[in-house]
């Protein structure tokens, strides 16, 4: 979409895929809890937040260890521990309704029908501004990333969610897709309002003393600066493949990292792992984007020339 890059205001409010963001920098799912846990983040900088992924029912999560640090990154296998949708509706949504930035709920299911049921339950709930359909979690036995690797399955989940809600529907893509452009187009055709690119990359680390995996789930999802060039490339491919907006995710730590995704064709970005290191990472990214913007709001530097 050509106007995606033309009207770029790197730090101001904007509308993306049916959601009104306060700034283009959001908190990524699984790295900001339910929004109540990061007291030191400058909330005026938060464009919006995606809550930790939920299922219909509460889930215990994966056995520990759940995190291993790797060069410039980390592997996680949390296994989508969390409360079910009832707790979210009863305890968190009323809080979110009073917040100055939108909150999207990250949806997970083992079957297409579970995603659809979740979407229906959240439809019309005050405090929920949109849904982020997670067809890209690498840390569950069933569902998750499997849906995101196949264009037909991705479209089936998207369409099932679409018909059960009036909320904006964003779909979060996995780098494990053989052809991410095809998956992106399938989601667009099935009615997605925006696409998020990308979730974590599957990885593994072994304990050299015991010879066993260092994560309880054996494998995990790689995030952090280590994945940024891979994520920029995939987000760019997705942005070229579809007309709906793309939200770039992967390894953003500094303002210039966010700008890189915007230049690659994204309308907004999400910051994840960086918040673990610096609770106000998002505040600093937005502050940097503001300082680096020209008076007309456009980012400095060159537009990306078409290949």
């Amino acid at each position: 979409m050509s106007d995606a890059r033309d009207g770029l205001t790197p730090a101001g409010p904007l509308e993306v895929g049916g959601v009104h963001l306060a700034t283009p920098v959001m908190a990524a799912s699984g790295t900001f809890g339910f929004g109540t846990e990061v007291p030191l983040c400058d909330r005026r900088a938060l464009g919006g937040m995606v809550c930790k992924g939920i299922f219909l029912e509460p889930r215990a999560g994966a056995p520990p260890p759940r995190i291993v640090e790797t060069p410039s990154g980390m592997l996680n296998a949390i296994g989508l521990q969390g409360p079910g949708v009832e707790t979210v509706i009863r305890e968190y949504a009323p809080l979110w309704a009073t917040w100055p930035f939108p909150v999207l709920v990250n949806l997970n299911g083992e079957t297409v029908e579970e995603y659809a049921e979740l979407a229906a339950r959240l439809d019309g709930v005050a405090g929920v501004s949109g849904l982020e359909v997670n067809i890209s979690c690498p840390n569950v036995e069933r569902g998750g990333m499997l849906f995101g690797q196949d264009p037909d399955l991705a479209a089936a989940v998207t369409a099932a969610v679409r018909v059960r809600t009036r909320l904006p529907v964003w779909v979060k893509l996995t780098p494990a897709a053989g052809d991410i452009s095809a998956v992106a187009r399938a989601c667009e055709e099935a009615g997605a309002d925006a696409l998020c690119a990308v979730n974590t990359f599957v990885g593994m680390a072994l304990d050299v003393r015991t010879g066993q995996p260092r994560l309880g789930f054996r494998t995990g999802g790689l995030s952090g600066p280590a994945i940024r060039p891979l994520a920029v490339y995939l987000a760019h491919r997705v942005a070229q493949a579809v007309r709906i907006p793309v939200i770039g995710i992967g390894g953003i730590t500094r303002p210039e990292d966010a700008l890189e995704f915007l230049l690659a064709g994204c309308r907004a970005v999400q910051v994840g792992t960086a918040t673990f290191v610096d609770p106000n990472a998002i505040g600093r990214v937005v502050e940097g984007l503001r300082r680096r913007s020209t008076p007309d709001g456009a980012p400095p530097g060159h537009r990306l020339r078409p290949a």
């Binding site: 846990e37 930790k52 215990a60 995190i67 640090e69 990154g73 969390g82 792992t273 290191v277 609770p279």
Partner: protein, 253 residues
Amino acid sequence: MHDLQAPLVGRRRVARDAFVLGFRAGPIAREVRAGQFVNVLLRPGPLLRRPFSVHRTEGEIVELVLRAVGEGTGRLLELREGDRVGLLGPLGRGFALDPSAGRVTLVSGGLGVAPMPMAARQARAMGLHVCWVHGARTAADLCSEWEGDEICWATEDGSRGVRGTALEAVPEPAGQVLACGPLPMLAALARRWPEAQVAVETVMGCGTGVCLGCAVPLTSGVYTRACTEGPVYRAGAVAWERLPAPAHAGWET
């Protein structure tokens, strides 16, 4: 919770490989309670912060005790006076001392001494009698500093105090028991004193409750967050057989 740039202001050796580092961080020093921790950011250094119990406070100074087991701890011990680190804290739930207990026993194995000086001071300030039982592999690994009313040593090789673990050296009646140390020691302690309060160690992603990376399994079947509901737990509540030992040597000496 504070996020501060704290300069290193002092360093001393307290055991063969263990050092106490002091950082100037007034706001944290004033708020922290025994058993709580700080999450340390090193630049240059590893990506994620590294959690450490607060060992003692002295005015504006927050003291940590550690030994080198990997990149982060190695870098911490290379710092020179005046070098700054990021300190996020105080974090987690510390020990809850019972003023009616009369007597409290602190059980520490190896670097499990970490939270004990603060616990000893807080307990004494409440009028409790403090007995500290400290064990290590050999005399050179025992922490040279202690606080409280009485001290009992234990070494695996018998080079000082009781031969055996700290657990075996605890004089009865123990009163309220607070413990920190290697997992096998804590698991054994839980069988003897399920009501004891134990500070556990896990890998941590954030230290603030958002990542769910610090899961501690409870006997009730749920996972809790060591950084938020912990790191201090009722010993009998932890499903010890499902809590993996950290990949590093951590608390052991």
